[in-house]
Amino acid sequence: MAALCLTTGVLGYILAAHAQETQRAKTLGQKLLCVCGCNQILTACNHVGCTYSHGMLKELDDRVARNEPDDLTIQAFVQEYGSTVLAAPPTTGFNRAAWIMPIVVPLIALYLFFELIRRWRQRAAIATASGPAVSAELLARAQREAGKDDDEQR
């Protein structure tokens, strides 16, 4: 009975460790591209006759099985296949620009958006101040009707 429990425990541990390894390999594989030119994530490349993906996946599995740290594994792949093996640009040097620009440009656009609105409102205020005189009665009526339209157009 004890032997059975022990065997089950060991088997359970091995299976759990294997599942963890497989998951880690999959996660790491999603950070890499197949270098056959298909532009696909390494774990997704299924090109028939692809001479790269099978070997790369095997190498990845081996490194994960050796419990090599993730950074080291990624670095090893970069050294072997070049920086094009990375699925996303690294956050170092000029490549930082890849990540920064999609944030900076919308922020600049947002600033311009508010600046444009500010100018429009300023221009509208000047136009109103320099426009022909409007009687208080007419202005009140216009405001009343603008309010009405607002409700109707919603």
């Binding site: 950070k31 696909q40 640009p89 890849a98 999609p102 409102r121 339209d149």
Partner: protein, 689 residues
């Protein structure tokens, strides 16, 4: 016959040149005869390019392998449908096909407006002819599809050589969707030429008002709709053929098709501000210009080999032509804008930040941010290589990280925009319109979280989808309730009536709902599962609720391909549910092997099975199975988008007016009696959109 096709193309080129020159002369001298002859010449291009296309198709169907293009892209055993589609399988043929679609659009635009807009049409005709000249130059002098095999013999006489059989069509293209996906995409790309031509013409001719927008609204929507269909069919093709379990890989060519679609979407929204309020004139003109230039950029990316892609055509020097054309288009656009910028002054300004106008403006901003992010990621490898001499890859992790938040924000605006009024929305109105959609959206998010829905983006997406759906539903309900109360009809009939009275507005809402469905489908991808296993007959693997039992592997063959096929029995909860037959086909003519995926698609998930070949180590067949949730919603959402666009293209049904005689009264009397002439006029007009 090859001379016939070449001759037709040369004539088409000359006709386009004449349409261009006579159009300019007609616009300057204002002589109707010149303008008319330019128009007729522009229309004749269509007939001539049609003859060239028909001639090339004839070569395909008669297996004329002395034609280089036919020999490279067809073979005798190729099914007739694919022989027809082989027209656009390669560089030369697809450019001819592009020219033909463009000439079809130009013909229709010239014909429909033949007796309209005499001030605008000559300019528009010139711009359209200019674009045609560029593509016909490529067809005639750079990438002619009518090249023949052979060469001069010793005596200098040209000797034709014919192959016994052709090399066959690229196996990836031998799939029914590939017969319609490229035409749809090309119809989108080429279709944006028409709004571009009218926008540039209006600017050059200083054509007053928003007329060019009214003229081109439907053309833009048609092009946008085709582009949407093309993108979705492409995604479906990638899903069903490439066999990697997904539908969008952020490949440069996929991105290239997305860019003009994004700016086109922005234009379709911002154009309403110009129509309603006379605002954003500069913005709209540049959105149309940008959309057209992105279409050309997309073609450049596909054909120049600047960026590596599985979709790209062979690398060639043709890219330089596109770079030159793109530069020329930009110079002409900028020059026209600079000369006529005073004509583009806004009539109105923004009254409030909480208004329909500001939501459109914001939506445009976000769409352009998305466009920039996609373009930046697509071109960054080239930029990086140019700046630091180090080529890097920009793959799905980058695009997902950058674009998912932007897309979710856009989804939010899809729900917010319709609930805001033009000019200004009061706080009361905001509370009234937003309360229930927001509350129900948040509650559904909480419920989903409790039931284990922990993926953050998918959770936000779910909340927003519920919010947008309710905001759209409330728009229909509020309008229909008024009609139902007044006419005594039931609410469903009232919804139909309401929709047909303002097809553009309610068709637009249906398009938004289609986008919601697409977002739901995309959110499902966060829960994809996959299992790969070497399987001998009798073995089984489990994925989700399914057990896949391998029954056997066999070989089937026909004249076109030989196939190795797996026969799989699918069990669900212990009961046999279906059989699936994933294959690997070896195409005899091209000597290329491809996968044929087996998919069982259901509303909640797809079971997607790939026969991934034999393991190099053990020689055993490998089966890769995926359980992809909610993918069907994407295709269904696409259908809804198309239906909504179709509805928005229909003319409004006018409400029946019953006139009753009134005694004439002065403005002053009307005001004194509390009847508002201004309000009456405003209410009788089409206040929505």
């Amino acid at each position: 016959m090859d001379i016939f096709g070449s001759f037709a193309l040369i004539l088409a080129f000359l006709a386009a040149v004449y349409a261009f020159a006579a159009g300019i002369a007609g616009a300057i001298t204002r002589r109707p005869l010149l303008t008319r002859s330019a128009r007729h010449s522009g229309m004749a291009v269509f007939g001539l390019v049609t003859l060239a296309v028909a001639s090339l198709e004839y070569f395909f169907f008669t297996d004329n392998f002395s034609m280089a293009y036919v020999a490279a892209h067809s073979n005798r055993a190729l099914p007739a449908l694919y022989k027809f589609a082989a027209l656009w399988a390669g560089q030369e043929g697809s450019l001819l096909f592009w020219s033909w679609l463009l000439s079809t659009y130009v013909f229709l635009a010239l014909f429909v407006n033949r007796n309209k807009h005499p001030e605008l049409m000559p300019y528009a005709g010139v711009v359209m002819a200019g674009v045609q000249i560029f593509f016909l130059t490529l067809n005639n002098f750079v990438a002619s599809p009518f090249g023949v095999l052979g060469g001069p013999d010793a005596s200098g006489t040209l000797r034709l050589a014919a192959l016994g059989d052709g090399h066959g069509l690229n196996p990836l293209l031998q799939y029914p969707e590939m017969v319609i996906h490229p035409p749809m995409l090309y119809l989108g790309y080429t279709g944006f030429t028409i709004p571009f031509a009218f926008a540039l013409a209006a600017l050059l001719g200083r054509y007053p008002g928003e007329k060019w927008i009214h003229i081109t609204r439907r053309w833009t929507m048609i092009a946008w709709c085709f582009q949407s269909i093309g993108i979705l069919l492409g995604a479906h093709w990638a899903y069903a053929v490439l066999g990697w379990g997904g539908y969008w890989a952020w490949d440069p060519v996929e991105n290239a098709s997305l860019l003009p679609w994004i700016t086109g979407t922005a234009f379709l929204h911002s154009v309403m501000m110009q129509e309603k309020r006379g605002m954003l004139k500069v913005w709209n003109i540049w959105l149309v210009f940008t959309t057209f230039m992105l279409c050309i950029l997309g073609t450049l990316l596909t054909r120049s080999g600047v960026i590596s892609s599985v979709h790209a055509f062979a690398q060639s020097s043709i890219g330089n032509w596109f770079v030159g054309f793109l530069a020329l288009v930009f110079i002409v656009c900028f020059w026209s804008y600079w000369l006529n910028r005073d004509y583009l002054r806004s009539d109105n300004t923004l009254d409030s930040l909480v208004s329909r106008e500001s939501s459109f403006l914001f939506n445009n901003l976000i769409l352009l941010a998305a466009c920039f992010a996609v373009l930046w990621g697509t071109l960054f490898p080239v930029l990086s290589e140019w700046v630091v001499g180090n080529k890097i890859s920009v793959g799905p992790p980058f695009f997902n990280k950058v674009n998912v938040p932007i897309a979710l924000f856009l989804l939010l605006l899809t729900g917010v925009g319709p609930l805001l009024a033009w000019r200004k929305t009061s706080f009361d109105a905001l509370r009234r319109n937003f309360a229930w959609p927001v509350i129900i959206g948040v509650v559904s998010g909480i419920v989903a979280f409790i039931f284990g829905f922990r993926e953050i983006y998918s959770l936000i997406c779910l909340i927003l989808c519920v919010f947008v759906t309710l905001s759209i539903a409330s728009e229909f309900y509020r309008g229909a309730r008024v009609i139902a109360a007044r006419d005594g009809s039931n609410i469903l009939a009232a919804i139909g009536d309401l929709t047909m009275r303002n097809t553009r507005r309610y068709g637009g809402y249906i398009v938004h709902f289609g986008m919601v469905l697409i977002f739901i489908g995309i959110a499902g991808s966060a829960f994809n599962k996959d299992v790969q296993m070497e399987m001998a007959p009798g073995q089984s693997l489990a994925i989700g609720p399914y057990t896949i039992l391998c029954q056997n592997f066999d070989r089937v063959a026909n004249n076109n391909f030989e196939s190795e096929r797996a026969t799989l029995e699918i069990f669900r909860d212990g009961r046999s549910e279906m059989m699936l037959y994933p294959e690997r086909r070896f195409f005899l003519a091209s000597e290329v092997t491809e996968t044929m995926v087996a998919v069982q698609s259901k509303p909640l998930h797809d079971l997607y099975v790939v026969y991934a070949g034999r393991s190099p180590e053990t020689g055993k067949p490998v089966i890769h199975a995926y359980q992809n949730p909610l993918v069907k919603w994407i295709w269904f959402g696409g259908i809804v988008v198309v239906l909504g666009t179709g509805l928005a293209l229909l003319p409004n049904r006018r409400a029946a007016l019953v006139l009753k005689p009134v005694t004439e009264q002065s403005w002053g009397n009307a005001v004194a009696k509390g009847v508002s002439p201004i309000g009456a006029i405003a209410r009788s007009s089409d206040a929505h959109d």
